[in-house]
Subunit: 139 residues, 2 copies
């Protein structure tokens, strides 16, 4: 038994952490295949802008089209205060995100947002089944 196998909970947490790092790097790189990877076909997305929800991988990817249409590259898209609760086949993570984008007219917008992500392990591999991105309501 390797050292890695001796603590499955720590392994699961590390795998989820790596998945989030790959995904957020793919967003910064505008790497659409990388963003799509590790997502369940039935993913349920609650995004910052409307609509209320998006269901399924194609609808999920459409939310990223909205994002990349909003800002030219480079975008800031990183996280702090990441916390992970990982069981053997269900996990979730919370974090505070920092986003900064530049619109076509040069206007720069920076904001913090809340991220909750839900995971299931399928055939020994973690995948994202749910993302919830939001900012507090202003009105």
């Amino acid at each position: 038994m390797s050292t890695k196998d001796q603590n499955p909970a720590a392994n699961d947490e590390a795998e989820v952490r790596e998945l989030i790092a790959r995904w957020s790097k793919a967003v910064r790189d505008e790497d659409l295949e990388g963003i799509r990877a590790d997502h369940d076909p039935a993913i349920l997305m609650f995004d910052v802008p409307p609509p209320l929800l998006a269901r399924g991988l194609d609808a999920y990817m459409a939310t990223w089209k909205t994002f990349f249409d909003w800002s030219t590259r480079p975008v800031t898209f990183d996280f702090h205060d990441l916390e992970i609760a990982a069981g053997p086949d269900v996990a979730f993570a919370t974090a505070i995100g920092r986003c900064c984008g530049t619109e076509r007219d040069g206007k720069t917008t920076q904001f913090e947002f809340r991220l909750t992500t839900g995971f299931r392990k399928r055939h020994g591999r973690w995948c994202i089944v749910h993302e919830h991105h939001s900012v507090p309501a202003t009105d």
Copy 2:
């Protein structure tokens, strides 16, 4: 072994479902002890109005003071499309909430919101360690 014990995953899902039902009924009843029950001391709350986050049970209960100060009773606070992913000790749930409140001046506001809730089982009992309530951004 009882019938109930033969499918622990179904038991866990049922327990999480019952917990959400108890909690949302406590909100409708403005039952502060009932709202507080089954929550972890270190709960992380991402609520609809500011602040960005609230950490700990007292800060969590302060978000409900904001809510009850906003609306006179009765409030509508119920959920549909509830989905639960439950492992043996970590679970999360998603749902669409319907909220309707009446301000002191008689103005009624109704809206839908997104809910994601994270759970851990502590000493054989599920508790909420995270709630994320939001509406899509309007600007």
